[in-house]
Structure formats: structure tokens, C-alpha cells
Symmetry: C2
Subunit: 218 residues, 2 copies
Amino acid sequence: MKTQKIPEATITRLSVYSRFLSVVEASGINSISSGEIAEGTGGTPAQVRKDLAYFGDFGTRGVGYNVPSLNEAIKEILGVDKPWRMVLVGAGNLGSALAHYSGFRNRGFEIMAAFDNDIRKVGMTLSGLPILPIGDMAAYIAEHDIQIAIITVPGPAAQDIGDELADTGISGILNFSPTTLSMPDRVSVRNIDLTVNLEVLSFIITNRDFLAGGDLVE
Amino acid sequence: MKTQKIPEATITRLSVYSRFLSVVEASGINSISSGEIAEGTGGTPAQVRKDLAYFGDFGTRGVGYNVPSLNEAIKEILGVDKPWRMVLVGAGNLGSALAHYSGFRNRGFEIMAAFDNDIRKVGMTLSGLPILPIGDMAAYIAEHDIQIAIITVPGPAAQDIGDELADTGISGILNFSPTTLSMPDRVSVRNIDLTVNLEVLSFIITNRDFLAGGDLVE
């Protein structure tokens, strides 16, 4: 697979396509066109074909795509053909919301435990997850072969957590803190800074008349 | 201002620069170099200069940037030089976490009320916000001049909410549901699909050896 120049937007759309295909597949439909995928996901048929073409030739001209095969292929590309074990670091309000979030579990991402440095929380549960002390995190990650950590601690605490995670075998971090984490190359970081997203929206609203098509360049 | 070709990544970095500059400004420091901004935000000096150059010429060679002036200019670009009034649609776990989230309020984004269709929640409060019935939403938005709605309802309910919002004077939506909303052009939509973000991370981890530099094209 040659993925050197894949746009991030293509990967985000593949995730959307796959979840749509899962719904279609569950309804027993076996064949689908790029037009139907586009209609179900708010895109265009040309974009669907272009996104898929980065990874191979999945459809048959005039026949369309086999739904289970295409979905299986996309899941394999995204790496969601196998389960992921995760921990949550920070058992606050956002951590609690994520512990409840069924969208992760439905796609094979399972949060195994939550960690917090507040000793009043330790020993309690968060949506059924045990809340454990931060000091036990490294041992837990090794013992349970955890691959992803979700960080929801406040900004000033995030790099310390990152430093502790760097010494474990973790592969990736979903970082909700506003801190830009400095991590070794073998740990991939994906930032979801909620305030940044809101400020991008306020930029777009404020500058709508100046932006071509109302959109930024992805 | 000529903003037709501004990368989204530049806007996300401007938001990060501005929050960093606010901390610097509060500490009483009056002058800063692009190198210091880069160091404080995890970027490079050349990137800082390039991001700012889209919008004008803010610094003085050999002297650097005046911190309050630069921060004020960036806030004006982002549209966060004035307050924004928002409502929350969906008073579930994620809505509750966002109602608690201080990162929004610190930047002038205020959530005024929450709306939910669960009559058991209506009349209660969510982190101090009144929870009101969805049926009152349009009137509330008009009366309180609400500009942004944050949607945290489940996917299948999101387009109905979008349709109701389309008939109000709202300018933008921060959409946490996995549904791709179909909205009129005068309503800007910013999606934060948590599962998509996790799947982009799993893609990067899974395909790290194939990706140049470990990153996707922005």
C-alpha cells in the first residue's frame, strides 16, 4: 500500500463510509453504488471513488461495490478490523462522558480503566470502569497490553502524563487537553482541542464573506 | 483581507498561539519573538511567521512582536474579540461535560441554556444551565440572539435538530453527532466526530511504517 500522500480528509471520510456501510450491511443489502454511498454520507460519488482509489480497486463498473467486502476492506485500512484496548487518563466530566460514549465500543475501541490523581475518586467507578491511581498506570498498561490512552486531564498536567506514557509500550494518544504533547515518534498523537474547534467555527462565521465557498483549505 | 487559500491548520494554530499569548500577556511580558511563540506552542519559528503572514505584517525585524497587539489582532481574525452566545442541544453526558468545560468560557464563548426532549430532564439544571424543552428552542434563540448551537444529540436525531435550527437566525453549529448535517449556506457547521478522530488515530498507528513522517497530509 502506498499511502504517502493521503489527505487526512480521506481518512475521516473512510470512517464515515464504514459506519454507513455497517448500517447498510445490517439491513441485508449486498450491493451499493458510489452514488448511494455519497447520498448516505453527505458527499459526492466522485469523492467516494477518489477516496477509495487511494487504496485499491474495490468496485465493478456497472455493478457497484459488494457491501460486506468493501466494509471489511475499509475497516482493515483504518485498523478497526481488530479490537483496541484503551485507558482513560482523567476521570472528570469529559472523561465520564467518554466512558459512557457507545460510539467507541461499537467500533471495537474498549476503554478498560480510568486513572486519576484525585484520591477521592480512586476506588470508585466511572460508568462501570474502575478508577485507579495514576501511579498504577504504567504497570496496568503493560499487564493489559493497552495500545491507546485518552487524555482528558487539564492542560498543565498533560505533559507529565505524556512523559509517563512515553515510558510504556503505548502506541497512540487521543489528547483532549489543550497542551501540545512532546512525544517520541513511536507514539502517535491525535489532538481534539474543543476550544480550537469552536474558534475555527467562529473564524469561518466571521470571515464567511471572504472565504471561497465558505470553507477553509483542508 | 484575502483569505481564500488559508489552510485550516493555520487557523487551528492561530487559536493555539492566541491562548499562549494570553498567558504570556498575563505574566506582564510585552515583547516576544516568533521563536518564543514556536517554543511555547510546539511549532517552528518559520511556521509561526508563515501563519501570521496570511493576515498581515505584525512584527518588527529584530524586535519581535508586541504581545498585546499581536494577541488582539489574532483574536480579531478568529472572531473571538467579541463574546459569542451559544445553546447546547442534548443534555446527556457529553452535553454535561461541555457545560462544565471552562475552556469555552475563558475565550468568550458562553453557553446560555441546554435543550433536551427528555421531559424528565426539563426544568432541571446542567452545570447551572437551565434545561428547556426542544419546542422552546427557536423562540429562545431569537429572544437571546444566540449565534452558535452545540449539538450533542444521538446521530438519528441530529438532522431534525438541524432542520429546526435552519429556521432560526443561528450562524453556526458545532456538531458532535456522527450525522453529516444538511444545512443552508448561511449556517456554518463544524463537525467533531469523536469516533472519526479515534479511527484516524488507529489508521496512523496501523499504517505508521507506510506514512511519510508518520503524518497525513493536512
